[in-house]
Amino acid sequence: MARMTMSDAIVEAIRQEMRNDESIYMLGQDIGQFGGPMQATKGLWEEFGDSGRMIDAPISEEAMIGTAVGAAMTGSRPIVDLMFAEFLALTVTPLAHEGGSIGFKTRGEVTVPMFVRAKCGIGPHHGHAEMMAGMLMSFPGVKVIMPTNPQDAYSLVRAAIRDEGPVVMLEHMSLLHARRAEVDLETTAEIGRAAVQREGNDVTIVASGLMVSRAERAAKTLAEEGIEAEIIDLRSIAPLDATTVVASARKTGAVVVADEAWPTAGPAAEVAHQVLRLTGGRDHIRFGFATSPHTPIPFSTELERAFVPSIEDIVATVRETLAP
């Protein structure tokens, strides 16, 4: 056990995996002596720099991902720090359209074990907040994880590095250097499993990233009104753990999705789709959405605050959803 931030936990997981497996190397902008953007690779250069396993990349996102796909196909396990999730749009063909499909198209003869890190979300950086989650979810074979606490970050990163296909981790900038927590370095995780963060019988709030902690605070307010919310932290956006969501929805009879990503064809839409698909609408489950508008993310701090669902927005959406 060790106390660490989510950022520390991610670095520790990468360090452990790199020590265990020589085929892992890391590529990204400013990940060398600089220590990584927002200290994303702190200490890794000191341990692995001399062996050439930490490669400072030029501003060439498509080639960063493209070379990683090629390296992964031929026996390496690359980790790419893409810095910010908005840059994922530059890499869609090699990462998602082709990279996600190669294992299927070759019947597993050729696999693409690569792990991509990308920061997103509103945070201290005041920019680069786009998540691109819906875009990534469209492509079969691409896994997308989004941890919300140091333990999950540590365990999911280890699972992601060991996965035989491409895994993208969305790192929320408001969570990376937030509270420290104990991390069990032996705990493992399975990608594709959500966690029930809080139990309740009246409404299911489905969230990921920063929205999980906002949902927790919303649940406290709601509890004062006698509404007990169950909170599901998706952890893995693709594949999405519909089984856990549906089980909770059947118990509470109401689902509120709290999501910071663009609402069209994204995680919120997919949660609703999966619940309807698996219940056929027969369980009379109500839906509410505390989501961002389908607009580009604005710059001004005030406008940005209005864009992202707040605790009050989540509380209000729950009330509306449960209203007779």
Binding site: Y25, G52, R53, I55, A57, P58, S60, E62, A63, I65, G66, T67, A68, V69, G70, A71, A72, M73, T74, G75, S76, P78, T93, P94, H97, E98, S101, I102, G103, F104, K105, T106, R107, G108, E109, V110, T111, P140, G141, E164, G165, G192, P239, L240, D241, A242, T243, Q274, R277, L278
Partner: protein, 324 residues
């Protein structure tokens, strides 16, 4: 470098096999992309690669490379038609990626350019593993305008990767002539700007191609990326229903006089005691054999959709079916 008679006959055999498959596909497959005329560029570029080397062919040549790498013509033909007997058992199209493996990288979608990034990534793997291998990455003049090539070349030079980039310049990107499409001179001029040693070679002279590529691979194994431009010509259309309104009959006829197989046969006859009559009879025999097996491949049974799950992605595919 002087080639022995046996080596030249081997080059002839590879080119004749490639041409025979091409000819039979032209007759029996309306979706075929003809490569007639470019056999010297394909065979000369890849025949000398050995164990530990990686070939990343241009799509117009992927089937010929499959044959050179020992795939049976029946398997290659099955891949072109997406049949059960192909390498991917119908999961992927064998005309643009006949033999997906750790040693052969080919296209994984209809997009052009990413293969060059994958080849560059393969060179990263080779370099990191400290092995003596080299990568040969071939692409067309049309593909040379894809941005990811510029990014990949920059990274290859920056990291001194063991890779030879080959522009298989057949002068047309579907209908757009290379002279109209490539700004700033030639693709070789661009390669020189990245600090790569470059050579411009007659791409219809298989001996010249083989020698130039051998020089380039020798350099690349020691020092980093090198570039070779092969000037050749696509004697057929871009695809079978190409109206070919963009070029004159005279132009095509002029290039027919430079047929790479006929040229090698001339060298063999004049300098190596080649029996032209026996050679012509053998060619006819091979062509008949390929036509028969292409017909058989076209009529072969389609893959069973149920077998799609027979890969390491069983759980992913099962989950996809369930909608999870």
């Amino acid at each position: 470098m002087t080639q022995t008679t046996e080596q030249l006959v081997e080059l002839w055999q590879h080119m004749v096999n490639g041409r025979a498959l091409d000819r039979a596909m032209c007759i029996h497959n309306p979706l075929w992309h003809e490569g007639r005329g470019e056999e010297a560029s394909i065979v000369g570029a890849f025949h000398a690669l050995g164990e530990g080397d990686v070939a990343a062919p241009h799509f117009r040549g992927a089937t010929t490379l499959g044959l050179m790498r020992g795939l049976s013509p029946e398997t290659v033909a099955a891949g072109v038609f997406g049949k059960e007997a192909s390498v991917t058992r119908g999961a992927w199209r064998g005309d643009i990626n006949a033999l997906p493996s750790r040693e052969v990288i080919g296209m994984f979608s209809g997009s052009l350019g990413t293969t060059v990034a994958y080849a560059t990534g393969a060179a990263m793997t080779i370099k990191r593993q400290g092995k003596p291998g080299v990568v040969v990455s071939s692409f067309g003049d049309g593909t040379s305008n894809s941005g990811v090539i510029a990014e990949s070349w920059n990274m290859a030079k920056m990291l001194s990767l063991p890779i030879v980039y080959i522009c298989q310049n057949n002068q047309y990107a579907t209908s757009l002539h290379a002279d109209d499409a490539i700004a700033g001179g030639t693709v070789s001029d661009r390669a020189r700007a990245y600090g790569m040693p470059t050579e411009d070679v007659d791409g219809n002279d298989v001996i010249a191609v083989a020698e130039a590529v051998a020089r380039a691979t020798d350099y690349a194994r020691e020092h980093g990326p090198a570039f070779v431009q092969l000037m050749t010509y696509r004697m057929g259309g871009h695809y079978m229903s190409d109206p070919e309104v963009y070029r004159s009959r005279e132009e095509v006829e002029e290039w027919q006089l430079k047929d790479p197989i006929v040229r090698l046969e001339k060298v063999l006859a004049e300098e190596h005691g080649w029996d032209a009559e026996a050679g012509a009879a053998l060619r006819a025999e091979i062509e008949a054999q390929y036509e028969a097996l292409v017909i058989a491949a076209k009529d072969a049974p389609a893959p069973d959709p149920e077998t799609l799950s027979a890969s390491p992605y069983v759980s992913d595919l099962a989950a996809a079916k369930e909608g999870n």
